[in-house]
Symmetry: C2
Subunit: 222 residues, 2 copies
């Protein structure tokens, strides 16, 4: 029974990692398609979203079944309920990637703006590191890695704020392209929200590993 349960947990981790890879691919793909003005990418993105949705339901069902049939001990129970929360965060990241694809489709007709695209690409890379590390910190029960994600979220917020200000200035100085600037702002906001979800995951991990005292003293970490 114990060995079977360990095997189930291992499979659950593998499923979550697979889902994480897909979500990372969607984030990178969405921003890459924007940079390359690749209108056809939307079809790929929608197919990936369906796959993510399917896996989310599978993981959710697997967790509920594990709890119901195996009656896990406290530490494993906490791991499984955390997996359910993380699963929801990953799926919402995929939704944000789809939002990026949809905003992009309205931008393809606009005159281009390479420096902004470059900044969005940088942001997406940072955010994807957060996604990867937050999930890895969960798999390895590694609270130090999770704390690193929180620090990087501050950095992503700063990148977004700076880009936001730049785009607001663009809107003021070039009102004819205000819609384009607004589109870029929305995409930056989607990336920031993905970072927020990675932060949620990391906070869950720190709580899971370090217990209840740490969760509400996050200011010590920043």
């Amino acid at each position: 029974m114990v060995r079977h349960f360990e095997e189930e947990l291992k499979q659950l981790k593998a499923k979550l990692q697979h889902m994480g890879s897909l979500v990372e691919g969607m984030i990178a793909g969405a921003v890459n398609a924007l940079a390359k003005k690749d209108e056809d990418y939307a079809k790929t993105a929608y197919a990936q979203e369906e796959e993510v949705n399917r896996i989310q339901i599978e993981i959710d069902d697997r967790c509920l079944t594990l709890i119901a049939l195996q009656q896990p001990a406290a530490i494993d129970l906490r791991f499984i309920t955390s997996a359910m929360k993380i699963n929801a965060d990953l799926e919402r990241m995929a939704d944000q990637a789809i939002n990026i694809v949809e905003s992009s489709s309205r931008l393809f007709a606009c005159p281009w703006c390479d420096p902004v695209i470059e900044k969005l690409t940088n942001m997406a890379e940072r955010v994807n590191m957060m996604v990867r590390d937050s999930l890895q910190s969960f798999i390895d029960r590694n609270d130090a890695l999770a704390r690193g994600v929180l620090l990087r979220d501050d950095e992503v917020d700063r990148m977004k704020d700076s880009l936001f200000l730049e785009l607001v200035e663009n809107m003021a100085s070039d009102p004819g392209n205000a819609n384009r600037s607004l589109g870029f702002i929305l995409i930056a906001r989607n990336l920031e929200r993905i970072g927020d979800h990675a932060t949620n995951i990391s906070e869950d991990v720190i709580f899971m590993v370090c217990g209840k005292d740490i969760r509400h003293h996050m200011e010590d970490i920043h």
Copy 2:
């Protein structure tokens, strides 16, 4: 045993409702303190946040204990794991209310702008209705109420977008007060994120009540 479990579920619902009321109070209080330039409110807000954090941990522990000791049936297990997710969303709303208090403290020194304050107050009222209805929809397993929250989220997003555009115009036409406009934008963003959390709760409820098919076809609802 069954009666005892029912009693436990009833207490869990009551705890969540208590937490929801506290969070609503924090949101209304934060925006009200901004409108009244009430600098002393911050102390009250921090005390409320501590109370919310304490209750969050209590609810979380209660859920884990319920699962471990009572081995609930599928439908109750889903209810309890949803309660854990909702608990996390409520606590993050309280964090956003604290962010509003902190942004406000930097605004008290600025010249005032009543029309913007009025719009933020309206937004806060809408958002609080979303919080209340999303939680009630969970307690009553009422998916129609949850769907209403999703519609209202679109409305809040529109209110935020319109306020955002107005503030961006203010920044361009009155650069000396750009910091004030930015502060208002941040507060509008905090309110929008609270609405996002209420949306998360409502999506969980719709899934819980209607099963797995509905969750990934939200476009039918909008």
